[in-house]
Symmetry: C2
């Protein structure tokens, strides 16, 4: 269908997308100027975060981009299967966590695990997701003026030609943004009904799980495992590494890690570290997971639900085979800081180029490619960045862990809440507290969070910040900018800012209590 001259509103777009998702024969969606004639400045293969932002930026600079995507919507995996449902699940987990701790107290009814249905939450997501898709399609056409072909699988012909929806499009540059897919452990039983990853979970779950085994120790495992447990589905996490010590997570502070993992255990999650899955057993449907434990012995865990959170593999095969782009050991397309591959005029962006598979990286990769294509030299270094995950909490960090700082600086100053003081009886301390932790602070103080600021005493600069609680994620974007700018951020500047009390992280006021000292000390 050619929608170039139509101006669909969100409700109309919703219908177009839902129809296409349900009907595999639905025709491609074409939004093309001059019917796609002429040569584009760039074709973005994949309209996920990187492709959409890259194309929008290139268009904003005056160029002519084309996005092609097999799905009938722009935005990619994130709003369809990944970060958006995960945020819904984590938000639900935080609500259910409150209910479970306060069961029968205050205004909370008795906890009723029968009410919290994983399946029902997924259905809520499925009913709503195309509304976000509708907005992306609308915005990209009407506000950002970007051409696209959706709901049609593209074929790379060469570095200047893409075939899609039965025709060929020519471009001076290609930007590859085909993303990644779940990587599954190579063990027997992966094909059984009841084995899911983040994508198949939302697409295929059709029963209410009663027990869960999560495989993996990184972000996805913690996030989904915490959600399942919060609904009352008894969850076991099987991980080779200690949780949050997987290679994909950098700068994880040990005190933060302990607070997070202890918090999961307090909520009933069973955690098997140093353990490896050996096989998934069952006749047709999952019944047991066989695990080799840290001590070498084997255990069988009964379950009707297995969730795989062992990372993702870039979708690089077609680009490698057709164009000859070089790929690394994980299948990631290799690029330089301008996002150029080894093939002239071919760029790659987002999850396709490997870790970190995060939104900011995908989008900024796209922008970097766009700038270079339009003749503005640009590099993107994503070796340092702020990071976060959810359990039933929001966990956020940026810069160095305390351990890393101690390796680098002679005089490391720690400002944290609760403070580390022997015999202080901090389990009754209602601090930290802020929005969404007030009930914990007043009734279950030990659950109200943890925060730590790491400072180089000599330069007085903040070198790391770590937070468990809620409501600090947004701030860490700016803390990242401030501590990584050339002049950094000193405790003096931080202590001189205007806090909005009760602020989720108490860094401004805690810094102020120490900033008067010429020789800094811990707090």
């Amino acid at each position: 269908m050619d929608i170039k001259d139509q101006h669909l509103n969100l409700a109309q777009w919703y219908d177009v997308i839902e129809t296409a998702l349900q009907d595999t024969d639905a025709e491609p969606i074409l939004n093309l100027r001059d019917d796609g004639a002429g040569v584009y400045d760039a074709i973005f293969l994949g309209g996920g975060a990187g492709g959409r932002f890259g194309a929008a930026y290139l268009r904003a600079m005056g160029g002519r981009p084309l996005i092609v995507d097999a799905w009938p919507f722009l935005g990619g995996t994130c709003p369809h299967q990944a970060c958006v449902p995960h945020h819904l699940f984590s938000d639900v987990a935080a609500e259910l966590d409150l209910w479970r701790w306060f069961s029968g107290q205050l205004f909370f009814p008795d906890w009723d695990p029968g009410r919290a249905s994983i399946l029902e939450i997924i259905r809520l997501f499925l009913r709503g997701r195309s509304s976000a898709h509708a907005f992306m399609n609308w915005q990209t056409k009407e506000q950002l003026d970007v051409e696209y072909v959706l709901n049609a699988r593209a074929r790379l012909v060469d570095a200047a030609t893409v075939e899609v929806a039965g025709r060929r499009f020519e471009a001076r540059n290609l930007v590859l943004g085909m993303g990644a897919r779940s990587r599954h452990p190579d063990i027997p039983g992966m094909e059984l009904r009841g084995v899911f990853d983040f994508a198949t979970l939302v697409e295929e779950l059709d029963y209410e799980p009663s027990r869960c085994v999560v495989i993996g120790g990184g972000k996805t495992s913690l996030e989904y495992g915490s959600f399942f447990q919060a609904t009352g589905c008894q969850t076991v996490i099987v991980s080779r590494s200690p949780l949050m010590r997987t290679p994909s997570l950098h700068h994880v502070d040990e005190d933060l890690r302990r607070y997070v993992v202890d918090g999961m255990r307090k909520r009933g999650v069973e955690i098997l570290e140093g353990a490896e899955p050996v096989a998934i057993l069952g006749s047709g449907k999952v019944e047991r997971v066989v695990v080799r434990l840290a001590g070498g012995e084997t255990a069988e865990i009964e379950t009707d639900f297995v969730f795989i959170g062992t990372g993702e593999t870039p979708n690089s095969a077609m680009a490698r085979d057709v164009l000859g782009v070089r790929v690394g050991p994980q299948g990631e397309v290799l690029v330089d800081k301008t996002m150029r591959t080894n093939v002239p005029n071919v760029f790659a962006i987002g999850d396709l180029i490997g870790a970190p598979m995060e939104m900011f990286k995908a989008r900024r990769c796209g922008v970097t490619a766009a700038k270079n294509i339009m003749g503005e030299a640009a590099e993107f270094d994503f070796s340092e960045y702020p990071d976060f995950l959810h359990t039933t909490y929001e966990v956020t960090w940026v810069g160095l862990s305390e351990q890393e700082a101690r390796e680098r600086f002679a005089d490391v100053i720690i400002i944290q809440m609760p403070p580390y003081v022997e015999d202080l009886d901090t389990e009754h301390l209602p601090l930290p507290c802020a929005d969404r932790t007030m009930l914990y602070a007043f009734a279950k103080p030990e659950l109200s969070g943890f925060q730590k600021l790491v400072i180089d005493g000599e330069s007085r600069r903040v070198v790391g910040a770590h937070h468990v609680g809620y409501g600090a994620k947004d701030a860490f974007q700016y803390l990242d900018y401030l501590i990584h700018r050339p002049e950094g951020l000193t405790i003096d500047e931080l202590g001189n800012m205007n806090e909005l009390f009760l602020n989720p992280e108490h860094f401004i006021q805690l810094s102020r209590l120490r900033a008067g000292r010429s020789e800094l000390v811990n707090l």
Copy 2:
């Protein structure tokens, strides 16, 4: 009791404070070096936010401060009667709001107004508040090394002498931080049982209100009114000005205001703007409030509960009468930017010097006085600052409203979510969304928040930011710093930051979608 050589932990401090609060004859708490002999660099009269931070900073700089306070704890009104209970109430309001909208859906039981008790939430607060007090007393002594006399009312003798706990203390400087108290409208019936302000609410409420009349249209009224309504207590707000248009609130954007006030109405709050209370009637206990409505006619509102939120008056009488410090029309002590009053060596800080009566201002006033006393010239200009309030939402803003920006700049660019576009059907748009709004986004999209960025198109600088939702408060502290630094914050710098998706305010990525254009346009 002399606790100088004791090192009480939090549980022990809790007992000391609770005992003193319950026994009006409890003796003063003395934490004095050399038994208080010698001359202090400064005596801080009042150990609230300003006095505690000022004294701590002066001590950190090597000076010798003394804090005196009539209460048996440091921290002042905030943790005892004001911002801390308010945050607990607002957090509860956000939870109850979710329950009411989702009554009987998903995992939420049917809404049961009988379960949500204002009295019970206040009791939860009262049981816990001395734990925070305990921490302040502990930290100020053990970590910050500040001397104090608590639980004893001080008398000013002259600008160098304070009498408290039966003895006299000498200082080279006085820092006055005696705070403020609720200002009540001058109408008949204020003495009736059932009339409360924020302080008496927590101290004296002993029944469960069934209907409420809130008087006032500023922060306190919106916050407490939203909480009462959320518990199922039908609330009417009576305000002379339109809500959020009181003189104490600056830079309130009209679109933000409309979203907030409409949101309160959607939740059942009845709002009478342009209305004035004439009298509170009842025999012994409140029964009705007589109100002159905008049109001039009079109405009687039946109620068993009246909440006064009409602002605060500084406690300046003693300082004016004894020391001759000059005060302004609202009773506020007049100071210059160094916090000096007209009386040599007498400083004044915090709520005592008038609006804004906010935490950041009190604390930074204290620090400014401390620096000047210790010989470091310092000024504090709090004419510009970020601000926030709660309804069932967290509402945050900084810099100019759109209207103010249009008066000042020729080319004002607006980036907002939902976008303002006719016939877009945005009531089904699940954006903005982020932590704590995900359920709204997927089931009641029109409740998921509002956000707006105001940009001067010519300089490309962000000049204002406005947010309704959750989780952005912490970030606005840093946005305030960034937009008010000399070089400001351009849309280009903002669009080049690393967002943590789903970020509560979507400013980074929305900016990025426009930053490629040399001529900016709205989004």
